[in-house]
């Protein structure tokens, strides 16, 4: 209101005018909003999307730091590549739409490299994040309108497009040896499993961010306690995995791994706490979140045990994203039955 800011003046300069959106975004990040409420309610909660997403990034910090510690600067290079490539698409769409750059990308751009194997070439990271942001989010109309989790769309794309790089070449922390066997592969092959301690600290081959499981659990609980993510879905998801695998292990011990192995291998914890809880792509209704969690748990154990893939978290979350609107529709149909007349 009173006087224009540096960014507003920059955005008004003629050659820079088309980038006004970028200046507006920067201004919002650095100096907040200058708008006041128009009427009742006269005061508003201090939560905003920037804070919300910043908290998710904070919760991802243990996983991120562990990934860099385990796999060196290459892990950091993957994260930076993801931010730059995905960010360019995000900014391009913001310029076309003439709307502020939205904060959700900050999370997508970090989650995507964290669900990749540490051996992924940088150009695959770039292609994957670009595909994920473009086809997973922007074509649907941007934040809040996407059906699928953009990071998972990218991950699914690279998994199918480059199978030899994405599901056959793994590397354990602090080693250089390329292996094709994650703990879940070992279990399916009937080989001996690494000790629980190694699984907790993530000293086994796997995707970068999912390994340091103590940090994943801490970050996940942090999000639940701050109410950034709703506890219903991860709770139902993990509880169902434990229940289904405990039961299944009794009947098919060779196929279905016991609960402790299920929980501490693959991307289950990471997926349950950081990906399935994505508010946009999971069911809106509280009952729907429970139902989605239970379905996720069943599908994950089934894929892990009986499909051609040893890991099922990504597929089950993508499947659940597909069914989320249907789940909501059914919950609402039951909750608000048409009036009997």
């Amino acid at each position: 209101m009173n006087g224009t800011t540096l960014f507003e003046r920059l955005g008004a300069v003629k050659p820079l005018r088309r980038f006004a959106v970028i200046f507006r975004t920067l201004d919002g990040i650095l100096f907040g909003t200058r708008t006041i409420t128009a009427g009742a309610p006269h005061i508003l909660d201090h939560i905003e999307l920037k804070r919300y997403m910043a908290l998710v990034i904070l919760a991802l910090l243990p996983s991120t730091v562990a990934a860099i510690a385990y796999f060196g600067w290459y892990a950091l290079a993957m994260i930076i590549t993801s931010y730059i490539c995905g960010g360019m698409i995000e900014v391009a769409f913001a310029l076309i739409r003439k709307k502020s750059i939205e904060e959700g990308f900050l999370v997508t751009g970090l989650i995507f490299p964290l669900v990749l194997p540490p051996t992924t070439p940088l150009w695959v990271v770039a292609v994957g994040v670009a595909f994920g942001v473009f086809f997973g989010k922007e074509v649907f109309g941007g934040t809040g309108k996407n059906i699928f989790n953009p990071a998972l769309v990218g991950r699914l794309f690279v998994t199918i497009a480059f199978p030899e790089m994405l599901s056959a070449s793994w590397r354990a922390p602090f080693t250089d040896a390329i292996t094709s066997a994650t703990p879940l592969n070992l279990y399916r092959a009937g080989l001996s499993m690494p000790p629980i301690r190694d699984l907790l600290f993530g000293l086994t081959p796997g995707s970068m961010g999912e390994l340091f499981r103590i940090g994943v659990i801490a970050g996940g609980l942090f999000l639940l306690l701050t109410r950034v993510s709703n506890w219903r879905l991860p709770f139902a998801y993990l509880a169902t995995v434990v229940a289904v695998s405990a039961l299944g292990h009794i009947f098919a011990p060779g196929k279905i791994a016991p609960p402790q192995i299920q929980l501490l291998t693959g991307g289950l914890l990471f997926g349950a706490f950081f990906m399935a809880t994505d508010p946009v792509t999971s069911p809106v209704t509280m009952a729907g979140k429970f139902i989605a969690g239970v379905l996720l748990g069943i599908i994950t154990v089934l894929i892990r045990s009986f499909s051609g893939y040893s890991e099922g978290v990504m597929f089950s979350i993508i499947l659940m994203n597909t069914f989320a609107p249907l789940i909501d529709h059914m919950v609402l149909a039951v909750k608000y039955r048409p009036a009997k007349s």
Partner: protein, 508 residues
């Protein structure tokens, strides 16, 4: 689960020292809602009597919307408590002068609401209500009802004023002292020294509504007051309730389900269910009228919020200009917004110099207009920032929180975070409904999703992560439905069970 389903806890088990009240009091609340804690600028337990101002402006429309006709001429001398306007014809309804002096102006124009201005002469005292006195409390009901109908307290059903419902239709009376808002007047200040008078008011009301059930509800912050009142109040027929100080518990839409366990009729008023809801000040005014003969000419008004140099309560005459009350007490630095009664649902007083206080005024709030966000506002620990989410340090530490009018963020598309659903006191899905309204899908679907249950508490807008005015969109949806001729499907209270004349046109 129906929206009026309650969570009840046995209060006796929780605190041993409350055994006395525990015989009947339990802590009750509803699902959803939000407890506003620790805001800086709470009104202190301090009362200043402002006396008569130099002039008052009294509106010529009563709470039902009935236009009153002046019974005095311009220039005529009047005494505080004297009738200066009456409802036309056979409708009951009077307006009393709140000061002694002379009629300065009778404004009856099309531009502004009709009003009478009275210039005060500074003489003390008031016109004693006829037949009132200490013995009137045990007089026949007819006498009491006549006194009340002459006292200027509106909306109390009596045989002389049945505009809402007949006195015999009153099934329940709820007297409540609940502070549920960001800022609320101090219940201990208003009720604390006057518990005996409150008990007397209950006795009086029981004489005129002999078949009605009585409920007294205080919030848990006034626990000890309720215990004392429990011993002072007449025996039998009264239930005492402790309510959680959760917004919007004070609204009759929430008192009915929580205190009585009855569904609220969407779009109507509690009185149409035969429930008379009184706050403590009104209950005390009934005692003052009947026992002391004092007409309802003044109110205790809290001055809250960071904008005042000292957050006190004032006793002010009805019709006093808001600028006369807040003007000398506002901080000199900064720009403040004056809001009446509630920061969540109250109206902004844009012209305090020409807006008088009315019978419903109980709180004047001054909040800073903050047109800057500060540096990196989303990043700090947030010791003084309030949030429904637990993402700021203020949720864990007992620092006083700051209230201001900044949006605290930019508007974004809805990400379905679910906060609005969690706080909604009537258990509807604001995030879902607002999408329908935004896309202009106004039909049976949103009606089936119970959009009509919305009570406009604005909590969904307050907590919104994406800074969307969800409540305004839902209001818009309700208005468009009504304009489109849609009617509520299977209302919680069938229309044939409603009583009297609706006070306002139901929203649907």
């Amino acid at each position: 689960m129906p929206p009026w389903a309650l969570r009840r806890k046995n209060f006796a088990l929780r605190t041993g020292k409350d055994k006395e009240a525990a015989t009947s009091a339990r802590t009750r609340t509803f699902a959803g809602g939000y407890v506003f804690r620790n805001f800086i600028g709470q009104p202190l337990s301090e009362l200043v009597d402002l006396g008569a101002p130099h002039h008052v402006i009294l509106g010529l429309t009563d709470p039902r919307g009935v236009s009153l006709l002046p019974t005095v001429q311009k220039g005529a001398p009047v005494k505080a408590g004297q009738v200066i306007a009456r409802a036309p014809g056979t409708i009951a309804g009077i307006l009393l002068s709140s000061v002694s002096g002379s009629v300065d102006d009778i404004r009856m124009t099309d531009e502004e609401p009709d009003a009478i201005t009275i210039r005060a002469d500074g003489s003390p005292g008031w016109a004693h209500i006829e037949m009132a006195g200490p013995e009137a409390a045990s007089a026949p009901p007819e006498t009491i009802e006549r006194i009340i109908s002459q006292s200027g307290i509106s909306m109390i059903p009596t045989r002389f004023d049945t505009a809402a419902i007949a006195a015999t239709d009153v099934e329940s009376v709820i007297i409540h002292g609940v502070s549920d808002d960001v800022y609320s007047p101090s219940i201990p200040l208003i009720a604390g020294p006057r518990l005996a008078d409150l008990a007397s008011a209950i006795r009086i009301l029981r004489r005129i509504y002999p078949t009605a059930g009585f409920s007294v509800a205080f919030d848990t912050r006034s626990r000890s007051l309720l215990r004392e009142l429990c011993t002072a109040a007449p025996q039998g027929g009264i239930t005492f309730h402790l309510l959680k100080p959760k917004f919007p518990q004070q609204r009759e839409e929430m008192l009915l389900p929580v205190v009585l366990g009855r569904p609220f009729p969407s779009g109507h008023r509690a009185i149409n269910c035969g429930v008379l809801v009184l706050n403590i000040q009104t209950a005390l005014a009934i005692h003052d009228a009947v026992v002391l003969g004092k007409p309802a000419i003044d109110r205790i008004v809290a001055l809250s919020g960071p904008g005042f140099t000292r957050n006190i309560h004032v006793r002010a005459r009805l019709g006093t200009m808001i600028s006369d009350i807040v003007g000398p007490r506002l901080r000199s630095t900064g720009r403040f917004r004056i809001v009446e009664n509630s920061l969540l649902i109250g109206r902004e007083i844009a012209q305090p110099a020409s807006t008088p206080i009315v019978q419903e005024t109980e709180n004047l709030i001054a909040v800073p207009e903050k047109e800057e966000g500060g540096f990196l506002p989303f990043a700090g620990p947030g010791f003084r920032k309030d949030s429904y989410s637990v993402t700021f340090a203020s949720s864990l530490l007992p620092f006083g929180k700051e209230a201001d009018t900044n949006l605290h963020g930019e508007e974004r598309p809805c990400i379905s975070c679910g906060f609005c659903e969690s706080v909604c006191p009537v258990r509807i899905l604001p995030s879902l409904l607002h999408r329908y309204v935004k896309r202009a899908i106004i039909d049976e679907t949103i009606l089936r999703y119970r959009i009509t249950r919305c009570i406009d508490c604005n909590l969904c807008t307050y907590v919104c992560t994406s800074k969307i005015d969800v409540a305004a969109l839902i209001r818009q949806g309700k208005a468009k439905l009504a304009a489109g001729g849609y009617r509520e499907i299977s209302p919680d209270v069938p229309p044939e069970r409603l009583k009297g004349i609706p006070l306002k046109e139901p929203a649907l």
